[in-house]
């Protein structure tokens, strides 16, 4: 970290040329390929893509919480100028729950069933506020529980996770993330595991939170509808590659990548959003094994040309802040 006047204008997070492989029984799965994306300060960036496109994997790389069958990881993940991939485990542990926090997809399994909410909410703050007493940390937790809409916090903080509904548990997870005042908050499909009415409530809560939250949010979803209500910018992922990044406005008004266009037209034709919409694009998501040096979308693209199959089209800047990886864009 070098400080100085350039810091405020430099992006909070920059992911450069990220490649990630997993070793599997079938061989090497190329789960992320040349991923590039930028998260500016004080912005909400949405990541959209169908199931298996590598959204959660991207989040795990930023958190450096990777499974043991990881066989290759290269590229850079710069947070405030520091390359997270170069940190030793102790250094990374200081980043987690301090500069970065994460809300997980399934609130039913993300909290420890045999400890009270109080124990868990207090302990997650210790890294960020090492000097504070348990009492202070508990008071912060109570205040935050009230803010995220959990009724009767003083009584409920002594309860165990199974005594809360799914929606309430996700509110607890959100409260935990906000408690550590992270520079970057990653929310990995925080509403997918919830039913529709609860989902709407949580989205409303997130909208309220964004008013007062000073950090940036990486919001993962497979619904463009949800992304459009919450996010300033959108990153579109397909089969482990970033195919387009733009401001929400540009992306929705003038999408440049054929996959983004297909995604948008599906979303419009099928009101409910989610995976069902994505399946109506003809063809299948490519296998992540033995990928050819070609455009990842070529097999399903209506505008594919021979040159699309000769090299991977790089992510190019088309207009300020608008990038797409397509030879035609």
């Amino acid at each position: 970290m070098n400080g100085g006047g350039t810091m405020t204008t430099s992006p909070l997070l920059e992911v450069r040329n990220l490649d990630l492989d997993y070793a599997t029984a079938r061989g090497t799965a190329q789960v992320l390929r040349q991923v590039n994306l930028t998260i500016p300060r004080n912005r909400i960036v949405g990541v959209v893509g169908e199931s298996g496109s590598g959204k959660s994997t991207l989040a795990s790389v930023i958190m450096r919480l990777l499974p043991p069958n990881l066989s290759r990881l290269s590229g850079e993940v710069r947070l405030d100028g520091t390359d997270l991939l170069g940190l030793d485990p102790a250094g990374m542990a200081r980043v987690r729950g301090n500069k970065v926090a994460m809300i997980f997809q399934d609130p039913m399994t993300a909290l420890n069933p045999v400890f009270t909410i109080e124990t868990q909410m207090v302990d997650i703050q210790r890294g960020k506020f090492p000097g504070r007493s348990k009492r202070e940390l508990r008071d912060r937790a109570l205040e935050m529980m009230a803010k995220v809409g959990i009724p009767d916090p003083v009584r409920r903080i002594a309860a165990y996770p199974h005594q809360f509904s799914g929606g309430m548990r996700q509110r607890i997870m959100i409260a935990m993330a906000l408690l550590v005042e992270p520079d970057l908050l990653i929310a990995d499909e925080p509403t997918t595991a919830l039913d529709v009415t609860i989902e709407a409530q949580i989205i409303r809560l997130l909208e309220q939170i964004r008013e007062n939250f000073s950090g940036s949010i990486l919001f993962i979803s497979h619904s463009l509808g949800v992304i459009s209500t919450l996010c300033d910018e959108v990153v579109v992922m397909y089969a482990g590659s970033v195919v387009e990044q733009a401001s929400s406005r540009d992306l929705f008004l003038s999408p440049r990548h054929p996959y983004t266009r297909a995604l948008l037209s599906c979303e419009i034709s099928e009101e409910d959003g989610g995976d069902t919409a994505l399946r109506s694009i003809p063809g299948n998501v490519p296998d992540l094994f033995d990928l050819e040096p070609a455009c990842i979308f070529a097999a399903r693209c209506g505008q594919a040309e021979p040159r699309c199959r000769q090299a991977v089209p790089p992510l190019r800047e088309l207009a300020p802040g608008h990038r797409a990886a397509c030879v035609l864009a």
Partner: protein, 323 residues
């Protein structure tokens, strides 16, 4: 009634039923002993008159159901009869040696947990390391080796060859150091298999728990590895471990009896063994009854510890109602 109380009541009821069943079974065993118990107890040189008088005194001439009722009544009052050989109340004899057996059992389980738990935690945090592999070989061999074989080897090595530790007995009354020293070999012989058992159990449960999403959550907030393992994961991993340990308590009590015989320590095992040799059936009966009680009560204790370990088991309406 809250679910936690219902669980408690259920467990208490089954415990009482098991005890009643055990007492009835013990009574039936006396019926199966060949010959007239009075003959057996008084020996071959007793006169027929003496046998008849003794039978009447013990109520052996009454119908079976009356004898069963009397037996139950006596057990309930803590009256286990009088030892014909020494003339002392059997209950007193049992109570004298019970602390030795209880001490041995708890010392063994304590030792096993103290050693097995960190071993298991180490193995789980360093899977497939050399330490893990060596630990696995030792654990499995200790589990496979019968207690009495371990006991005999320990005796040979530490008491006879090396002459480090005293051989037999429980030590002088009042001399706690002596008693402690003499507790070492028997409890180690009992604990060794359990060290392996606990280490393997803790290892596999911990490995499973460490893959759970809630552990990832703790990691995502930079909670230290030590805290994650020893505070968070271990409590989760303790649930299946305790469940399986509960099933092994019978084996542990059985082992304690063998250890007492081999190390000539006073205890229930030694008492019952000597009583069998002299065909002193009432003492055998009382000893077995106490072992059954011990077994049932420890099991109850194990079940109760679930409530402490797993709040889902003691779900009550107090803090609930979050839907």
């Amino acid at each position: 009634m809250p679910a936690s109380l219902r669980f408690l009541a259920n467990r208490l009821l089954t415990t009482i039923l098991v005890i009643v069943g055990a007492v009835a079974l013990l009574f039936c065993l006396t019926l199966l002993v060949p010959g007239n118990p009075a003959d057996v107890l008084l020996g071959p040189r007793a006169t027929p008159e003496a046998v008849a008088a003794f039978s009447k005194q013990m109520g052996l001439d009454l119908p079976v159901w009356r004898r069963l009722a009397i037996f139950f009544g006596n057990v309930l009052q803590g009256n286990l009869g009088t030892d014909v050989i020494s003339g002392r109340p059997i209950l007193t004899m049992v109570m004298e040696v019970l602390p030795f057996t209880v001490t041995l059992t708890f010392a063994s389980i304590g030792l096993a947990i103290l050693v097995g738990l960190p071993l298991g935690a180490y193995a789980a945090t360093h899977p497939d390391s050399i330490g893990d592999r060596i630990g696995a070989v030792f654990s499995v061999s200790f589990i496979a080796m019968p207690n009495f074989v371990v006991a005999i080897f320990l005796l040979l090595i530490f008491s006879i060859w090396l002459d480090w530790l005293p051989v037999l007995g429980a030590g002088e009354p009042g001399n706690y150091l002596d008693q402690l020293v003499r507790l070492i070999l028997p409890s180690v012989s009992l604990a060794l298999g359990w060290v392996g058992y606990i280490a393997r159990l803790v290892r596999s449960s911990l490995l499973e728990v460490m893959g759970e999403p809630y552990i990832r959550t703790a990691r995502a907030y930079g909670v230290s590895d030590t805290k994650i393992i020893y505070k968070y994961a271990l409590k989760n991993a303790a649930i299946p471990t305790v469940a399986i340990l509960g099933l092994g308590i019978g084996r542990l009590l059985g082992g304690a009896i063998f250890a007492e015989i081999i190390f000539a320590r006073p205890g229930i095992g030694k008492l019952v063994y000597d009583a069998i040799l002299t065909r002193n059936y009432p003492v055998v009966q009382a000893g077995v009854l106490v072992v059954v009680l011990l077994f049932v009560l420890t099991n109850l204790l194990v079940d109760m510890s679930y409530g402490w370990l797993d709040p889902r088991m003691r779900q009550s309406a107090r803090a609930g109602g979050g839907h």
